[in-house]
């Protein structure tokens, strides 16, 4: 059977946390900055305080809206061929993290600022990996304008991968660009809605606050039924109670409040019940992502997600280490394994370190291997007549021929690939062979794999016509000013018209 999930709560404790979160939502509510969201909630029976912007969610509304949340959905790559199901049972590994620096051993500090070329390389590498199924806008490109990053990334996604992609719900304007551009790539809006390509991440701000830009983007993603990851990053002791039960109660309210809003925007819109919450280090005030408490929080969130029957997302492979050392390895496997054992359905943050601030493409390929190992571990042990293998045991044990062992048995050949995980980067050679192969450590071997992938990677061929259309779209987005962006998000009073004539109405925040 599959490995049993680690559970951090009893049934009664789950109920207790659920009730406390509901109490928070009904008595205090959430501060929602976007007025159109507040209006919609009000129309649906929520109690809105215009002054404080707090919206109180009646329990009946919560109960009713949770009913339309899907328990499974599929994500597709640009051409729709590559796809996978996200559900409440399986474990999928992905990236995310938006690191702003990247490992570079040639630099004095061992890191440098991330560039757009790194972003593209990361997409290509994820495309070539076996166990990591989706890349998100991981490597934040410091060399292009903030307000154009999304279109440049989507263009490179269309060109360089078979897998789905993820971006932040970066406001109404950018999210609408994403939907328009992706629709062009996949052959129309109907196709995009029917077979989602993009994951949007939406982070409520703890405690109990939905900021305007994220909420605006969230509305667009849910309108197009692109799955959104709702994941507060609450820190125990600073933006949430230091007690883990308190943090989980608070974030549960934040997640539920956001999910209710998603179902009001568009009933049936797919969401992930997620977390990136961890703790505040009480000596430095820094967040501690590699902490064991982060594993516990993730496990608690996964358990709550199962209670609500919604696919869960949590981080794994997190580490606070600044270099590629033992701490990096210890914390990455500990948090990854805990997340998997906890039954998180979508485990993210592959390839990052220093609390996801830094990316290493070497770690990305190592994480792919770790994901394979962890996936194998949680599959557990299959027991049936064939796997017990009485016949083969009898045969080998009683053989009178010299040199008979299980290696040359058909039973071994038939089952080895399903029973055993075959690592590619971990070295299992004898010392002599390891020396002969250059006595390399795993980072060196990982670098070689990265180089091989990048040399061998073949881009997708975009039709000339589509390519021109996409480049034209990018040009238009590039011509916008930062003020245009602010106007669209309601941060400045005005109007803006999108390239295809869609008008975004004034948002008098």
């Amino acid at each position: 059977m599959r490995l049993k999930h680690i559970e951090v709560f009893s049934k009664d404790e789950i109920q207790e946390i659920h009730s406390a979160s509901i109490q928070l939502l009904t008595d205090v509510g959430m501060k929602i900055d976007a007025q159109d969201a507040r209006n919609l909630l009000k129309e649906n029976g929520a109690e809105v305080d215009t002054e404080s912007k707090f919206v109180k969610f009646p329990e009946a509304l919560i109960r009713e809206k949770l009913k339309t949340v899907p328990d499974h959905f599929r994500l597709h790559g640009p051409d729709g061929h590559f796809n996978f199901e996200v559900n409440t049972k399986d474990t999928i590994f992905a990236t995310i993290g938006t690191p702003v620096k990247i490992y570079d051993p040639l630099q004095k500090k061992g890191i440098r600022k991330t560039l757009f070329s790194d972003t593209i390389q990361q997409i290509k590498i994820v495309d070539s990996l076996e166990n990591i199924l989706c890349s998100h806008i991981d490597v934040w490109p410091n060399d292009i304008s903030y307000i154009t990053i999304h279109v440049h990334c989507i263009y490179q996604w269309a060109k360089n991968t078979r897998k789905p992609y993820g971006l932040g719900c970066l406001g109404k304007l950018a999210s609408t660009d994403m939907m328009k551009m992706t629709s062009m790539i996949v052959g129309g809006e109907t196709e995009l809605i029917k077979r989602p390509r993009l994951v949007g991440f939406m982070n409520p701000t703890s405690p109990l606050h939905l900021p305007v830009i994220m909420t605006n983007g969230f509305a667009v993603f849910t309108k197009y039924k692109q799955p959104t990851i709702i994941a507060p990053e609450a820190l125990a002791g600073s933006s949430a109670p230091v007690t883990l039960a308190g943090l989980i109660t608070q974030t549960n309210a934040e997640i539920l409040g956001s999910i209710i809003l998603s179902q009001i925007y568009n009933p049936g819109a797919p969401v992930f019940y997620g977390t990136v919450s961890h703790i505040t280090d009480m000596r430095t005030g820094n967040s501690a992502m590699g902490s064991p408490e982060m594993g516990l929080i993730t496990a608690g969130i996964a358990q709550l997600a199962r209670y609500y029957n919604i696919p869960s997302r949590g981080p794994g492979g997190g580490t606070d280490s600044k270099i590629l050392d033992m701490q990096n390895g210890i914390e990455r496997l500990q948090t990854l394994m805990l997340a998997a054992q906890a039954g998180v359905n979508y485990i993210t943050c592959a390839g990052t370190y220093e609390a996801t601030l830094v990316e290493a493409l070497e770690l990305l390929v190592i994480d792919d291997e770790l994901a394979g190992m962890v996936q194998r571990a949680i599959e557990g042990i299959t027991v049936n007549d064939d796997t017990i293998g009485l016949d083969v045991i009898k045969k080998v044990a009683t053989s009178e021929k010299e040199g008979v062992n299980f290696l040359a048995e058909r039973h071994t050949r038939d089952h080895m690939k399903s029973e055993l995980y075959f690592p590619k980067l971990l070295d299992r050679n004898r010392r002599t062979t390891w020396y002969k192969k250059g006595a390399k450590d795993i980072i060196t071997r990982a670098r070689e794999k990265v180089d091989q992938i990048l040399i061998a990677h073949k881009p997708n061929e975009l039709l000339k016509d589509l390519d021109n259309k996409l480049l034209k779209f990018i040009k238009i987005v590039e011509s916008r000013t930062f003020d245009d962006y602010k106007k669209a998000e309601g941060l400045m009073a005005s109007k803006i018209t999108l390239p295809d004539g869609i008008e975004i109405k004034e948002n008098d925040k």
Binding site: E409, R413, N429, T433
Partner: protein
Amino acid sequence: MSIEDEMRQFVEEWDKEGLKEMCKSLIDKGKASPEELLKFIGNIMKFIGEQFENEEIFLPDLIGAADTVKDTIDEILDPAIRKSGGEKETLGKVIIGTVESDVHSIGKDLVGSFLFANGFEVFNLGVEVTADEFISKAEEVGAQVIGLSSLLTMSMDFQRQVIEELKNRGLRDKYIVIVGGAPTSEDWAEQIGADGWADDAIEAVELINNLITK
């Protein structure tokens, strides 16, 4: 499909009976000589060996293939060659076994399979093999190499005893003696006066190839 391709299918499928029947029928009908078929088997094992080295297939695929062709060689081709007065060509004859007081066999068996897959004739004497048994067999079959395996620090010294016994009988220079097994090392081999040491089965093949052609 050529005869060799057809044979390769049987080997890759580990179809011992299929391969035997095919070879027997070809020889009986005079369509191929046992020497030719042996050459094909050599090519097939070389091909499979390369696949293994390139990490395209795994250990069981290689050992199972070697196991499959071994039956055909022992039961069909070897007798047919002898019948016509010849002797099958091999790269050399190697005696292998685990020394006295040690019952570990798999590492040594792997060395045997790799040597066989690479064209050597292998006499695998099993485990807890005495010095006398090693030497008698080597004398009997006219071997070039004696391979001594030991997996226990407690049994390692029996490797030395085989070498000492060869010296006592005045036969030390007649044989290449190699040692292996987890606790052994190059230093150990030197210390007891062995001709070579290998860390694993792949290394062992290379070592014997080098020592024989010296």
